[in-house]
Structures are given as C-alpha cells and as structure tokens.
C-alpha cells in the first residue's frame, strides 16, 4: 500500500491525477457533459500509457466528474451529473438567498469527507464488504429500490398527491423501450427510435437544465444577487459539531449503497438525504436552503464512488458504465480486475486505492482555490450564460449516442419540465421515479422468475425484510414524529 503511494507520487502519475481531476471537475460542472463521457473519450489515449498512469488519469476524472456536478447544481439548479440531482433541493435555494459560497464550500467539504471515509472502507475491508454485497439478490435489490421510492413520498413538498403524481409520471416515461426482463419491445408503438427508450441524460438535461433556462430567460433582466467574495471561505470549526454526525452517517449510507453494483450515486444521495430529513428536528426546513440537506447529499454521492470501487477491484464487477470503461482500460493492458488482480498486479490494485484518496484531496485543493471565482458564474449576464448552456446541452445530448433523437427528447422534456413546474408538480420525484422504476421492476420480476412466482420467498431473506420494515417505518414516521412533537409541546 505504501509502495502504491510512493509510485503515485512519481511526477508523471501525479500530473495525470491532477490533469484528470481538473478535467473531471470542468466537464462535470457543464450540464450535458458527464464523467462517463470524459472517460470514454480519454480511453483511447490511455492505450499508449503505462497502466498506472492510465488508472490514475481515469480515477481522477471519475472523482472530479462526480464532484464537479455540485457547482451547477447549486448555482443554477442544473445538476451537472445525475448524482447531484438531490444537491439541487437545498443547494439552489441557498444560492438564491445569497449563500452560494457557503453552499459550495459545504458541498466541497462534504464531498471530500464522504470520499475519505469511503476510502477508509475501501482500503481496510474491501474483501469482506464485497462478499457481503454479493449476497444481495433480486429480492434485496427490489426492496432497497422500493425503499428509495417510498422515500420520495417523504421528499414531496406541498401537495403529497402532486409529489406522487410526479414520481408516477417519471416512472411511466421510463416504460417505453426494450423490456429488459423479456428482451422485447414495449410501448414503442412501432417506432425504432423509441426502442432505445428515453435516455437518462437527455431526460435529466431536459427536465432540469432546459426547463430552467427557459424559465430563467423570461426574467433575464434580473440577475441574482450574490455576496462579494470574502477573504476566506465560509467554513468554520463549528461545522464539525453541527454537520459531523450527518457527514459520518451519510458517508456510511453512501459507501454501503455504492457497494451494490448498478445502484448509483443518485440513489445514495436520495437515501441519505431522506434519512437526514427524517431524523432532523426541523424536517420542514429541508428544500428551502437548509445546510444539512446539501451536506448529506454531497457526502453520500462521493462516498458511493469509494463503495463502488470495492466490488470493482475485488470481484471485477463494475457498478456503472464509468467503471465498465475502467475495466476496459485495464484489459487493454492485459489486466483484469478481479480477485487475481491483487496477486498479478498489486501495483494496480493498490494504485487504484491510493489514487482514489489522492484524487479526493486534489479535488479539494482545486475546488477550494477556485470556488470564489466559480461562485461568480451567476454574475455573468444571463443572456450570455444561458445561450452557451443551451449549446452545451444540445452538444452533450447529441454526443452520448451521436443521435439527434436524444436532442429532441431533451427539448421535449424541457417543455414537460416547464409544464410540470407550472402545475406545481415537483421535478425531483419525477426524475428519480424515472431512474428508479426500471430497476425496481426488473428486480421484482427477476425475483418472481427465480422463485417461480412465490412471493413468500422474501420471508427467508433477512435483508429484504429489513428494507421492507424500513419502507413501512418511512411511511408512518411522519405520523409518529407528529405525535412525539405534540406530546413534547403539551
């Protein structure tokens, strides 16, 4: 392990890590461009590098990309990556009320803390955690995702019926395409364009970025107010006391959810956000620019990377496209992640682990230095900023699959998003319902396939039962909390 750090501090490896993290932050911050795209792009370049440099570059891009997403999520309510959807809930209201720098500073700190804590899990107990995660079958996946869906109801602000409607609409839009459970077309109405379904990125960019641009362009004359840059960033020692417990809990949740392949940073952020809200003494403040909301979301989505690296390194199981590309980069150098990696190429296995920690620290230094200037992005005249963002969105949606169909989907969802907001249907549940329901459906049907249609099989699965109990608790908790509140005031 120490060797790995020494290797990492060879100047060219460190340079690649800095380069990768920097690129990742910039790309992650631009709505429409994601870490996955960046990594796919740089993949051919790594063919000619030595494997350690290749891995450090890609890990840097991965960490930077997920972290960079918080910038636009907070400043413009446009999540740069899917993982920062939840960050918009409280980050944007904070920025609107003139606390942009504070929100950014907290987000960055939370990201780093989440990264470092999940690194500790990664470095110390990878094999046993990976074995634990492997035991999770379709029932566990289904109940976990169901729990996340139930938590959406907790997030709903204003009318509960409209929050649920948003979620159900999002789920309905996820239906067209190839039904992954039977490999056949569903609700495509004979269109071969619909066969690939609505892509996550076009839907996300459309619902958040495009609709936000269209809304903002109406009031282009009025620019946001923002505090002038201070001498030092608004982070205080007292934050450890106020946010410490939250960060620790969110890191554990993030790492733990990240462990499960196929479940991404957005679910991690959602679950830890709702948990924090449920446990909070002031749940009504969430969604109005409340600091713990930003902290829990950003801690968890970064922690989920560390978690996701565990099955990747120890088992060779990628949790996301980004990680599949990482595996591709290794196979080019005749290295295959998996249990044999620690024996065959320990410098790579430990190199990944070491690079992950250092990338987090580099990310902190870079964003720390830049945050004062980044925060002033909102002072750029709206007409300029929004026009450029639109061009980026079009280019980014197109570049995912080189397909104009995706760009049209993006525009359509921009209009849908605008309409939903106008009717006070929240967009958060809409997008999260869209992301989660395919997983929930596939896993439920896989469970039933496996058990020959026998639902009672769930009784023999303790973790699945545990998640089910949490679902129920989540649903009835507001009632209990209200009772306790009444008793206390009485």
């Amino acid at each position: 392990m120490i060797d790995a750090f020494i290797l990492l501090f060879q100047w060219q490896n460190l340079a690649f890590l800095v380069l990768g993290t920097g690129l990742g932050i910039v790309i992650g911050a631009i709505p429409g461009l994601t870490a996955t795209m960046l990594i796919a792009l740089t993949l051919p370049l790594t063919f000619h590098m030595d494997p350690v440099s290749a891995v450090t570059l890609l890990i840097g891009e991965y960490v930077g990309g997920i972290s960079g997403g918080l910038i636009t999520a907070i400043l413009l309510r446009m999540p740069g990556t899917p993982a920062s959807i939840v960050t918009t809930f409280d980050g944007y209201p904070m920025a609107q009320s003139g606390r942009a720098e504070r929100a950014l500073a907290l987000g960055i700190m939370a990201s780093v803390v989440g990264g470092v804590i999940s690194w500790m899990f990664l470095a110390s107990m990878s094999p046993s955690l990976a074995r634990f995660a492997l035991k999770f079958g379709p029932w566990e996946y289904f109940t976990l995702v169901l729990m996340a869906l139930v938590m959406l109801a907790v997030l709903a602000q204003g009318s509960l019926a409209k929050g649920l409607m948003g979620a159900a609409l999002g789920m309905a839009f996820a239906l067209p395409g190839i039904d992954s459970s039977i490999g056949q077309a569903r609700l495509t109405f004979g269109s071969s364009t619909l066969l690939s379904g609505f892509g996550l990125l076009p839907v996300l960019i459309g619902a958040f970025a495009i609709s936000q641009v269209l809304r903002d362009s109406n009031s282009a004359a009025t620019d946001l107010k923002i505090d002038p840059p201070k001498k030092r960033l608004p982070v205080y020692w007292s934050d450890i006391r106020t946010h410490g417990a939250n960060m620790l809990r969110s890191s554990v949740i993030g790492t733990w959810i990240g462990l499960l392949p196929g479940i991404g940073g957005n679910i991690a952020a959602l679950v830890s956000y709702s948990t924090t809200k449920q446990l909070s003494r002031e749940p009504e403040k969430f969604g109005t620019g409340y600091e713990p909301g930003v902290v829990s979301a950003e801690t968890a989505n970064n922690a989920s990377i560390g978690g996701a690296l565990i099955p990747l390194i120890t088992m060779g199981i990628p949790g996301s496209v980004t990680e599949a590309i990482l595996i591709g980069a290794l196979t080019i150098h005749n290295l295959q992640p998996g249990p044999l990696l620690f024996q065959n190429a320990p410098e790579i296995a430990y190199g990944i682990i070491a690079a992950y920690l250092v990338a987090n620290i580099i990310m902190l230094l870079m964003m720390w230095g830049a945050v004062k200037w980044i925060a002033r992005v909102v002072q750029i005249p709206r007409s300029t900023l929004l026009s450029i963002i639109l061009v980026f969105c079009v280019t980014g949606s197109y570049a995912v699959n080189s397909s104009f169909a995706d760009v049209w989907v993006m525009i359509a969802f921009g209009v849908i998003g605008l309409g939903l907001e106008a009717a006070r249907v929240p967009l958060g549940p809409f997008v999260i319902g869209f992301v989660l329901s395919p997983i929930a459906e596939e896993q439920l049907r896989a469970s039933l396939m496996m058990s020959d249609g026998d639902v009672t099989e769930i009784l023999g699965r303790p973790w699945a039962l545990f998640f089910l109990v949490l679902c129920v608790l989540t649903l009835i908790w507001p009632v209990i909390a209200a009772r306790i509140g009444k008793r206390n005031t009485a």
Binding site: P44, L45, L134, L195, G197, M315, V321, A324, I332, Q336
Partner: protein, 325 residues
C-alpha cells in the same frame, strides 16, 4: 506528461492534416489500395457502450490500421448503444453507403433480427468479414455439488427446473443455454441478469446456480467458479479438462465473431479496401497477442463466407425465437 503532449499534438496535427487534405482531394501520402477511397475518416459504429469487448477490439484494430497507414484515413469509433442495435443501424443509415460509415458488431445482431426487435435484417448489410471471436462456457460455483456437466444434466432431468440459470432473456446466454437445454433435454429456471457482471454477481452470491461466461471472463475471474462445458469447436489449451458440448454429443456451438458490416449498397472498391486492411490487422502480432491473452481466437473470415455462416445460424435462431415469443 511529455508523452501526452506529444500525443495530443500528434492528434491535432493529424486532424488538421485530415481536414486540409480532405478538402483538397485524395490523400497523396497514403499508399492506399484504391483511388478515391477512403476520402474522409471512416466512422466505425459500435452498438454498445464503451468498454466492452466489441468496443475494445474495434479501437485496437482501428489504432493498428492507423499506425500502419493501411487505410489513408483514420478509423474512428462511435458508440451508439441502445435499442438492441436499432440505434446503431439508424446511425449507419444516416451516413452515405460509400464505406465511410460501417458497423462493428457480433452475433447479437442475428439475435436482434430473430427476435424482430429493430426494423433491420441481413439484407441491410454487406458483410466485410469476421476478425476473430471467442466462445462461451457454462460455469457453476466452485463449491457446487456438480463436478461435471453430466451430473448437472442428470440432476435437471430428475428434478426439472430445480436449478436457476442467470441470463438476459432474448440475449446470447439465453439462446446458447436454450440450444443446449433443447439438445440435452432438460429445463432450468431463469433469473434476469443482463450483463456479464450481473451474472457473475448472481452466481457468486448464490442467487443463481448456472451462468454463461465468455471464456476470457472466466479466466480472468477463475476464483469461485467451476467451468463445466465449453461451447467452442475444440477444447481451449487454458482449460484442457473442460469438455466441449460437441464432444459430449450435443450439437451446440457458439463462436461469437467480431463482425464488420457495411450498408448493403456499399461499392466493391470500398469493401475491398476495408477488408484488406482488416485482414492485415488480424495478421499483426500485437493484435494476435491481445486476442490470445483474452482467449479470443484471432482469425480472418472473408465477407461472403461470414455472411453465409451467419445466414445459416440465423435460421437456427429463428426457430428458437419462435419458441420464446
């Protein structure tokens, strides 16, 4: 860092050169096979997300061809995932049928056709050839009670549907497993697992009993898995003890070739130039080394032969698809 800068600079000057030359006329420096083709970079559409085998092989071969100037223009890889390849075919149709837009796929294309997923069939393509391929195997957990495939088959015959097979319905594991189950006369229960990673996760975690893996996937993992039967033509030297289905008396083989396809109306001149470059790439020692290291066979099958083989296989697949739908 220097290396990277050099590479970037190389890439930039190459792109600049390409645009300059492209606007003037045919590339004078390329000792190309045919005049006029290629006159611009060749787009190779890969119908998958980046990182998988099809993607990596395409990128390797493209890099090799560029390095040696076997075509006067670079080959560039474009990923068009989604819709079981329908997206990629649409991309291909957007380009002209002049050989500058081609697809690198494998026999999942035939499965998509058999399942009638997209609006495309073999008539839409002109086959450029196979550049090697690999066969899959069936594995169980290493602590499984089944030491040989015969034990497994006997068990399944005695207690039908008593074992769970991880597969994606309507994908290669389903078709290969289905052919094998048909030939041997047994039945398994299914659980959805649409990627190799999912199958590995299910099998190792005890949520499935049987799963199909590419031989290369198995050899990289090894720990925790026990291969029972290989669906190649001959045993692999890396696993001399694993029998093929063929030698056990079941006529089930699956050789998943890397298949290069062009639009149906592509002129002969372009097809010849592309095929020649691909054939040269497959003879290159570095490519062969990558293939061997990943238990892929490095061979070259010319376009017509590849098409004839695929037509035969499609007929077989159509029969299986009819039983699924």
């Amino acid at each position: 860092m220097m290396r990277r800068i050099k590479m970037l600079a190389g890439g930039v000057s190459l792109a600049v050169a390409a645009t300059l030359i492209g606007s003037v006329g045919p590339n004078p420096t390329g000792h190309a096979q045919a005049e006029g083709f290629p006159s611009e970079p060749i787009r190779v559409i890969v119908p998958f997300k980046p990182g998988g085998r099809t993607d990596v092989v395409a990128r390797l071969i493209a890099e090799k061809i560029k390095e040696n100037d076997w075509l006067s223009q670079p080959m560039v890889i474009v990923n068009a995932d989604g819709g079981a390849g329908a997206n990629a075919v649409q991309q291909m149709r957007r380009g002209k049928a002049d050989g500058h837009t081609i697809i690198h796929w494998h026999h999942q294309a035939l499965i998509a056709m058999a399942m009638k997923l997209g609006d495309f069939g073999l008539d839409d393509f002109r086959s450029l050839g196979f550049t090697g391929g690999g066969s899959p195997l069936w594995a169980v957990r290493s602590d499984s009670e089944f030491e040989t495939i015969e034990q497994l088959i006997d068990h399944l015959k005695a207690e039908p549907r008593s074992l769970i097979e991880a597969l994606g319905i309507g994908s290669i594991p389903h078709f290969v497993g289905g052919m094998f189950a048909d030939a041997a006369g047994f039945e398994t229960r299914y659980v959805t697992a649409n990627s190799a990673a999912d199958r590995l996760r299910m099998l190792l975690g005890g949520n499935a009993d049987i799963a199909l893996f590419a031989a290369s996937e198995y050899l990289a993992q090894k720990e925790g898995l026990r291969p029972l039967v290989y669906f190649g033509l001959n045993r692999l030297p890396e696993m001399p003890d694993v029998p093929t289905a063929l030698e056990l008396g079941y006529d089930v083989t699956w050789a998943n070739p890397n298949w290069w396809l062009a639009p149906a109306d592509t002129p002969d001149e372009a097809v010849e130039a592309l095929s020649a470059a691909l054939e040269k790439a497959m003879a290159d020692p570095e490519i062969v080394e990558y293939f061997t290291n990943n238990t892929l066979e490095a061979y070259w099958t010319p376009g017509d032969e590849a098409m004839a083989e695929s037509e035969k296989l499609l007929e077989k697949l159509n029969k299986i698809a009819a039983t699924i739908q």
